[in-house]
């Protein structure tokens, strides 16, 4: 059955009967058939091969699947188990996705951040494995061509999805003693997970886990700091310590 599948599909191409497969990301169902909805290599998820469950057909949207474990990846050998990370429905932040975001505003009750990168794997156990493909237009060429042209400086945050970290979502313990000024500063890079899509303008993010929180920060003097504890970072030049909600380094 799987052999009849094309290795590469374009939108509108019929992939297989909905009776034999279930539709995964990059596909849709029409008149009890599964069709591709994006262009890309076709995958069949083989992990669900027990009799009751149907295999999932999906079309991959990640542009580069290069990870150390999948070095033998060749499209013609599809379907394959090589694809480790799950393909996503889209590249937007979703509930449970891990994001890296820059703090843009710190207020009494909440901190506003601007999402820079949506990481594919919602699971925290893998941490930030560099071999994971990031979803959001993960293409150096396009980053180099588009990043900050002078005019975009002021408006570049408007091109990014905005999120809020509410005071009660900063950490899991001593929630009532959180002072946001001692948790984040404007410019910090924070790792968090999305807890809800929020309202029309903001997503909601939490950092209430050991591996979540500030991952990069500059001191008052402008130097990159290194973490010394779960609530402190230090400037290597001046030696001064600053308070942060620090993500546990690996």
């Amino acid at each position: 059955m799987a052999n009849s599948l094309p290795s590469l599909a374009i939108p509108g191409q019929r992939l297989g009967p909905a009776g034999d497969f279930s539709a995964g990301p990059g596909t849709h169902v029409h008149h009890s058939h599964i069709y591709a909805s994006i262009a890309g290599p076709v995958f069949v998820d083989p992990t669900q091969q027990n009799a009751t469950e149907k295999s999932i057909i999906s079309v991959s949207r990640t542009q580069r699947i290069k990870s150390a474990s999948t070095s033998a990846f060749v499209p013609s050998t599809l379907p394959t188990t090589a694809l480790k990370s799950k393909p996503k429905y889209n590249t937007l932040p979703a509930v449970d996705s891990v994001v890296l975001a820059r703090v843009t505003r710190v207020q009494k009750r909440q901190a506003a951040v601007s999402i820079l990168v949506v990481l594919d794997e919602p699971s925290s156990t893998l941490g930030l494995n560099p071999s994971q493909p990031a979803s959001d237009n993960d293409n150096i060429d396009s980053i180099l061509s588009s990043a900050a042209n002078p005019e975009n400086h002021s408006s570049s945050d408007e091109l990014r999805f905005q999120a809020l970290i509410r005071k009660e979502d900063v950490r899991a313990v001593e929630k009532d003693r959180v002072v946001l000024d001692e948790m984040f500063r404007v410019g910090d890079i924070v790792r968090g997970t999305v807890i809800s899509l929020g309202d029309q303008s903001f997503y909601y993010i939490t950092t209430a886990r050991n591996d979540l929180g500030v991952v990069m920060a500059r001191s008052e003097a402008g130097n990159m700091m290194f973490p010394v504890s779960w609530k402190e970072m230090r400037d290597p030049v001046t030696g001064a310590a600053e308070q942060r909600k620090v993500a546990r380094p690996f």
Binding site: G12, G40, P41, E158, Q200, S201
Partner: protein, 323 residues
Amino acid sequence: MTDRRRINGPSGGTRPPVFASSIKSTTTATERPQRQRQPNELRKIFLKTGLIPSASGSSYLEFEHSASLSAARALPKSLIPPSSSLKLACTVHGPKPLPRSATFSPNLVLTTHVKYAPFAARKRKGHIRDASERDLGVHLETALRGVIVAERWPKSGLDITITILEAEDDRWWGDAPDSHDAAWGMMNVLAGCITAASAAIADARIDCLDLVAGGVAAVVVDESVDGGEPSTPRLMLDTDPAEHRSLLSACVVAYMPARDEITELWLKGDNSKASVGTDDKSLSYETLIDGAVDAARGAHSVLAEAVRESAERLAGLETGYST
């Protein structure tokens, strides 16, 4: 009148050049270009995706030169081009956050924008979008809205921008300005916009039901061979308005072949004249629409090839990187 944000020309205004050969109404020094294609033969389309890396998706589309235009370019005699062929660039930006002022939308919000370059047409175009450009944008939006799986992209927006570098003529330049009653060239432009936008959306990996393609058909009247009475109306696909004495009616569709669905239909002109002269049913609205659909099928094959080629390029890139 003066636009403080742009460099304005002379305040008294300027006039487009008038050619001596066009004011001498006695003889036409140059002949109306003749269609060299079969009635159901389409012009070749050049379509390429991904040329603009700062956009999430992009495409460039160009129609093949008509026989008269390529002859005029190979051996230039007159400065007046006999016809022109569509050239346009399309970019897709997004999905991106909706503006602050926007209300919550569970779906992808589509914005389309079509603009002619000032030098795109025989007559210089202004910098500010005019009504016909806005109209094109609206037609394009309806053509695409039914194709995109919008619910997969909550609270985000997608901007589609098309810049037309060279437009199609509305009529032959030698005809009096009012001899054709409508902006027929615009329909070809719309068909090109639909096909190019479809390619750019696929390049941006936005979920679509199908690759939607645009096509045009028209009922035309030509001079008969002996130069006497005009010929009987005939149905032609992918018409170049400059090549015909007059267009009675024309139709442009946005068509999804996988589902046999039309997402946008725009029919213009008067078919009654055609049916009076000939009482055969071959020139009814249905055949006109079928003709446009056939033209769209032709465009779709080019579109599918371009999208597949770019997907293969990316897949090839993957293997290239991993081994």
